[in-house]
C-alpha cells in the first residue's frame, strides 16, 4: 500500500514535470507566440494541481504510513481506511484532471474566483483533500493507541514528527476546503451567481502558506530521522527536534495573510499581526539547521574528521542520502534568504507576484523539498520492494542534475522578477528593448528545465532498475537514534493537546475577525465569471 502511494505520487510528478518544461519553452524567446494561449494556462493548471496537491500529499501519506509501521514497530491500525483514503485521492485526481485537460477549468491551481471553472475540477480537489484527511485521522489514532499501550514511554520521534505534519495539514486544508465547499462549488454548480472574491482570497491564504510546511514535513522528518543514521551519526537532540515540529504546528498556519499584503480586503492591522508570526516561523527552520548540522558533525567526527572543518571532509559524500541532504540544504539556504524578503511588506512589494515568486517556491519546493523526496524514495525502496537499489552512481548523477537544473531554472527567475517580469503569461514580446533585456535569462531557465526533465528520467531509471534487481532480504528498517534518547518526556512534549489548542486559538485571533466581518457585510460579493464557456 505504501508503495502504491509512492508510485502514484511519482507518476503524477513524472506527468507534470514535462508540462512545466514545455511551459518554460513555449514562453521563451526560443518559441514563437503560441496561437492559443489557453493551452498554456491549461498546462499551468495541470502542472500546479498535480505538483502542489496530488504529488506531495501522496508522498506525505505514503511516508506517514511507513513511519507509523516502522517507528511504532507494529502493523498500521485501520489499513482498510487507508486504502479508502488512497482510493479517494485516485478518484479525486482523475475527476479533477479531466476537465482541466478539456480546457474547462483553466483557472490555475490557486482557483482565482470570481473566475469559475467546471465543478468537477473543484470536486476532484476536495476528494483528494478528504482522502488525505483520512490519513490525518489514522496518524492520530495510531499514535494514541500506541501511547495507551505504552504508558509513560516517549512516542518515537519519527512518529511524533509525522503526526505533527498530519495535524498541520488537517487544519491547514480547512481554509481551502471552506472556500471550495461554501463558495466555489456552489457557484460552479450554478447554485450561486455571486462570490466574495476577497473572502475567497482570505480563505485561500489560510491554506496557502502552511501548505508549504506540509510539503516540507517529509523533508524535515528525513533530515532528522534518516540522514544521521544513513551517514553513521546520531541525532544531536531529540527534544529540539520535537520543539521544531511543535513550532511549525502552532505558527505555520495563522500567518497566511502575508500573501495578501498587496490586497485591498484585509486591514493593515491584521497584515502586521500576521507578519509578526511569519517572522516566528523561521525559528523552527533555524533550529533544524542547527540540529542537523550538529548531527552531521557528529557523524564526521565519528568517522575520524578532525579540526574545525575537517569533519566536513570526512563525511560520506558518495552516499546519496548525504549528497541529497547537502544539496537540499544549499537550496533551502538560498530559498530561505529569499523567503525573508517576501516576508517583509516593504521588500515584498518590489517582487510580489513576479517571476521572483515562481523562482522562490520552485527553489524551496521543487528544489530543497523534492530532492529529499527522491532521497526518501532511495532509502525506503529496498524495504518496500524487497529488492536492493544498487545504482549509486546513477543516484548521485540524478541528485546533482536535479540540483544544477533547479539552480539554473530559478536563479534567472529571481533576477527577471526583480526586473518586474510578471508571472504566468503565455508569451512576452522580446522584441521590445525593455523585455529583450530579460530574454537571455529566460533562455537560461529553459536550459534548467531541460536538465530537470533529464534528471526526472534518471530518477525513474533508478527505480526501474531497482524493481528489476534480484530479491534480497533487507535488514529491519531503523531511524536515527538521538545522542541522548529520551527516557521520559514531559506530557506537553509527548502529545499535541496543548499545541493543537494553541494553534486553533491563534487561528481564531488572526483570522476570526477578517473572515467573520467579510461574511457579515453585504455588498462584497461580485458576479462569477465562467471560464471555458462555449461560444
Amino acid at each position: 500500500m505504501i508503495l502504491a502511494h509512492f508510485w502514484l505520487a511519482f507518476a503524477g510528478f513524472g506527468a507534470a514535470l514535462p508540462l512545466g518544461a514545455w511551459q518554460m519553452y513555449i514562453r521563451s524567446p526560443l518559441h514563437g507566440w503560441i496561437s492559443d494561449p489557453e493551452w498554456y494556462y491549461r498546462s499551468v493548471t495541470a502542472h500546479g494541481t498535480t505538483m502542489a496537491y496530488v504529488f506531495p500529499t501522496l508522498v506525505a501519506m505514503g511516508f506517514g504510513y511507513f513511519v507509523a509501521e516502522a517507528a511504532l514497530q507494529r502493523p498500521l491500525i485501520g489499513l482498510r481506511w487507508a486504502w479508502l483514503g488512497f482510493a479517494l485521492v485516485v478518484i479525486g485526481t482523475v475527476t479533477a484532471i479531466i476537465p482541466v485537460a478539456l480546457g474547462l477549468a483553466s483557472v490555475l491551481y490557486t482557483f482565482y474566483p470570481p473566475m469559475i471553472g467546471n465543478p468537477f475540477y473543484y470536486i476532484g480537489v476536495v476528494l483528494v483533500v478528504v482522502g488525505s484527511w483520512i490519513w490525518v485521522a489514522l496518524m492520530g489514532i495510531n499514535m494514541q493507541r500506541w501511547k495507551r499501550d505504552n504508558p509513560g514511554t516517549p512516542v518515537p520521534f519519527p512518529m511524533f514528527a509525522t503526526v505533527a505534519g498530519a495535524y498541520l495539514w488537517g487544519w491547514t486544508a480547512v481554509g481551502a476546503a471552506l472556500e471550495l465547499l461554501f463558495q466555489i462549488i456552489p457557484a460552479a454548480l450554478g447554485l450561486s451567481r455571486t462570490i466574495d472574491a476577497g473572502l475567497a482570497r482570505v480563505f485561500f491564504s489560510w491554506t496557502l502558506h502552511a501548505i508549504v510546511y506540509f510539503w516540507l514535513m517529509p523533508t524535515y522528518i528525513a533530515y532528522y530521522t534518516i540522514l544521521p543514521r544513513a551517514i553513521g551519526g546520531r541525532l544531536y537532540s531529540d527534544a529540539m527536534g520535537r520543539l521544531s515540529f511543535i513550532l511549525f504546528l502552532v505558527v505555520a498556519m495563522p500567518i497566511g495573510v502575508h500573501h495578501l499584503f498587496a490586497d485591498p480586503e484585509v486591514g493593515s492591522g491584521f497584515k502586521f499581526l500576521h507578519s509578526v508570526f511569519t517572522a516566528l516561523v523561521a525559528l523552527p527552520t533555524l533550529l533544524t539547521v542547527f540540529t542537523i548540522c550538529a548531527s552531521v558533525e557528529i557523524a564526521g567526527r565519528l568517522r575520524g574528521g578532525k579540526g574545525v572543518l575537517g569533519w566536513l571532509a570526512a563525511l560520506p559524500w558518495r552516499n546519496p542520502v548525504m549528497l541529497g541532504a547537502a544539496l537540499s540544504f544549499v537550496m533551502l539556504g538560498f530559498g530561505g534568504a529569499g523567503g525573508l524578503i517576501n516576508m517583509s511588506y516593504q521588500l515584498d512589494s518590489t517582487i510580489h507576484n513576479t517571476q521572483w515568486v515562481t523562482g522562490h517556491f520552485h527553489l524551496i519546493f521543487g528544489g530543497a523539498i523534492v530532492i529529499m523526496y527522491f532521497v526518501i524514495a532511495y532509502d525506503l525502496w529496498p524495504h518496500l520492494t524487497g529488492r536492493s537499489l544498487d545504482s549509486l552512481g546513477l543516484m548521485r548523477a540524478q541528485l546533482w542534475t536535479w540540483f544544477v537544473g533547479m539552480i539554473v531554472l530559478t536563479f534567472p527567475w529571481h533576477y527577471v522578477g526583480i526586473l518586474g517580469m510578471p508571472r504566468r503569461m503565455a508569451f512576452y514580446d522580446y522584441s521590445d528593448p525593455v523585455i529583450a533585456a530579460q530574454a537571455a535569462s529566460v533562455t537560461m531557465s529553459v536550459i534548467g528545465a531541460a536538465i530537470l526533465v533529464v534528471s526526472g528520467a534518471l530518477f525513474f531509471l533508478v527505480l526501474a532498475r531497482g524493481h528489476a534487481a534480484p530479491r534480497t532480504a533487507p535488514p529491519a528498517y531503523r531511524f536515527s537514534v538521538a545522542v541522548r534518547p529520551p527516557r521520559a518526556l514531559p506530557a506537553a512534549l509527548n502529545g499535541f493537546g496543548l499545541w493543537l489548542g494553541l494553534m486553533i486559538a491563534l487561528t481564531l485571533v488572526n483570522y476570526g475577525f477578517p473572515i467573520a466581518h467579510l461574511l457579515a457585510t453585504p455588498g462584497t460579493a461580485v458576479p462569477t465569471v465562467n471560464v471555458g464557456a462555449l461560444r
Binding site: M115, A230, F290, Y345, Q346, S349, T350, N353, T524
Partner: protein
C-alpha cells in the same frame, strides 16, 4: 550504514548540548526580532504601509456612477498639490491605458477591477497592488525618475492575460501642471 559507537552521553555533555542549543535559539530569536522591528520602523518612517482602509464598490456599476466612471479616471490634482490617480483593470486592459504623473509629487493610486482579479505592478518600482473586484485598492507613492515604464497585469485573469500591459509616464512637474491646467483629468492616452 554500520552502528556507530555509543557517543559520550554523560550529563556534562548533555548540559553542554543544551547550553549551545539555547544560545543558538536566542541568536535566532534575536535576528527575527530585529527583522520585525525594522519592518515596524520602516512602516513609521517611510510611510511604506499597506493601505489603511478597506473600501467596497460594485464592479458592474463602475461606469454608471461614482469615482470610477470613465470621465473621472486618470490623474487629478488635489487642492493640497498632491495627485490622485484613479484607474480600473478589466479583461484585458487598464483604463487609462497610459497613466501620467508628475515627478517629486505625492501620488495616491486608487484602483479597482471591473470583473476578475487583476494585478497592478509598475516595473522597476515597489508599486504593487492586487485589484480584487468589489474592493478598492489604494497606495501612496512618489516618483523620482522621469520616463516611461510598463505596468503589466501580474495576476492570471483569463485567456488574454498575457496581453494586458499598461504604461505609466513620469513627467516634469511643470509639464504636468501645464497639461492639467486645461483638463480636469489627465492621462497620456493619445
Amino acid at each position: 550504514m554500520t552502528e556507530p559507537p555509543p557517543p559520550p552521553s554523560h550529563d556534562e555533555g548533555a548540559e553542554r548540548i543544551e547550553g549551545i542549543e539555547r544560545r543558538w535559539a536566542m541568536v535566532g530569536i534575536g535576528v527575527l526580532l530585529v527583522l520585525v522591528v525594522v519592518a515596524a520602523f520602516a512602516g513609521i518612517h517611510q510611510a511604506a504601509m499597506p493601505q489603511s482602509r478597506v473600501e467596497i464598490v460594485d464592479p458592474l456599476r463602475l461606469h454608471l456612477s461614482g469615482e470610477f466612471i470613465d470621465s473621472n479616471l486618470g490623474s487629478a490634482v488635489e487642492p493640497d498639490g498632491s495627485v490622485t490617480v484613479r484607474a480600473i483593470g478589466q479583461e484585458y486592459s487598464f483604463t487609462p491605458s497610459c497613466i501620467l504623473v508628475p515627478r517629486d509629487t505625492p501620488i495616491t493610486f486608487r484602483a479597482t477591477s471591473a470583473d476578475v482579479v487583476h494585478g497592478f505592478l509598475i516595473d522597476g518600482t515597489d508599486i504593487n497592488l492586487m485589484l480584487v473586484p468589489g474592493y478598492i485598492s489604494s497606495l501612496r507613492a512618489r516618483f523620482e525618475t522621469l520616463g516611461e515604464r510598463y505596468m503589466p497585469c501580474h495576476e492570471f485573469c483569463g485567456t488574454g492575460h498575457e496581453g494586458m500591459w499598461g504604461r505609466i509616464k513620469v513627467v516634469d512637474k511643470a509639464v504636468f501642471a501645464q497639461m492639467a491646467a486645461g483638463a480636469k483629468r489627465v492621462s497620456c492616452v493619445k
